[in-house]
């Protein structure tokens, strides 16, 4: 079964990390990604650009509404994700706990509801 691991963090806090700290975290991410690829869990994943680059689209009464945002008012913002294959929720939780950002942010574990892709 597939799970999406959504990585939430606090961007201002991220900006406070020193350059060396950021490099160390980035190395940790590389290591983690490699290890879950080797163990056969990894199906995909990426870091997202800052929330200031986000755009929201809505269709209302057949009119397209495009706005900046969502604004980073909430404490934590979606900063990246992994798509993993795990045998059950406990295995997915164990993978989520190893994501570096879990130590200061939080990881949302969501089971995928599979649909056939054309």
């Amino acid at each position: 079964m597939q799970y999406l691991l959504l990585i939430y963090g606090n961007e201002p806090q991220w900006d406070k990390f020193s350059e060396t700290e950021r490099q160390a975290i980035s190395n940790e991410y590389t290591e983690f990604t490699k290890s879950i690829a080797q163990s056969g869990h990894l199906r995909g994943g990426n870091e997202l650009k800052a929330i200031s680059t986000a755009t929201t689209v809505r269709m209302r009464d057949k009119k397209r509404l495009v706005t900046d945002g969502p604004f980073a008012e909430t404490k934590e913002q979606l900063g990246g994700y992994y798509l993993v294959e795990a045998k059950d929720l406990d295995e997915a939780i164990a993978l989520a706990a190893r994501i570096p950002s879990a130590r200061w942010g939080s990881i949302e574990v969501r089971p995928i509801n599979p649909h056939d892709m054309p």
């Binding site: 929720l89 406990d90 574990v109 089971p111």
Partner: protein, 284 residues
Amino acid sequence: MDIENIYREESGRILATLIRLLGSFDLAEELLQEAFAVALEQWPTQGVPANPRAWLISTAHHKGVDLLRRRTRFDARREELQKLAELEQELAEADQNMRRHDLTTDDPFGDDRLRLIFTCCHPALVLEAQVALTLRTLCGLNTEQIARAFLVPVPTMAQRLVGAKNKIRDARIPYQVPPQHELAERLEAVMLVVYLVFNEGYNASSGDTLIRQELCAEAIRMGRVLCELLPRQQEARSLLALMLLHDSRRSARISESGEIILLEEQNLGSMRWSCACNHRPWSN
């Protein structure tokens, strides 16, 4: 033992095994009810079988295979056919197992309650749902009784239970005892649920007092089961000891007119020490 007692004492353990065999909470519950319905019909005339639990599990198991056979005839999806084949295989083994055992003393199925406890008290479920599901599955309380005990409307409680069972299925919360390195952390969650059940009964300030008294008894029963299943866990014993100690003061705490009696005014002679001493859930 009459059927009602057997239901209260054994339904948790039977359900635990059925969930393992069938892989579904709902199907297991449905078949548990059906097996008891057959028992109600047969036992009064044919007598209670030597091992009622094994008989009930076996009856539910047979009914489960019948049900899946009927279902797959119409809707033959690959996974369902595979599940059916597995079940039939297991059923054949279980039947053989039953014949090999002396049903008056042996247990052909083993005890699956520990996995059920860990699934019901999984931290991915909200605490209220953990408590409700534990009482429903392990203690055999029905939805009305649980709703009454927690002073919420029956539909609210029913929704809570359905939500929890759906999450177990959809997010695939596993049906297993956690590995050793997670056991301590997960056991803490289980003990919290047991203690909450006890507290709900102990602090009964309103509601149906009889039902709430029962919650204390259920919590102590689960405490015993934990000690029995995990004899090396000191904390489980401590929890049981704490509950037994509090429970021994039960009759001294409330006057005949139902008022709370403060500790210094309680008649310590009426403490029910026998309750704490007579039961040793662990063997040395």
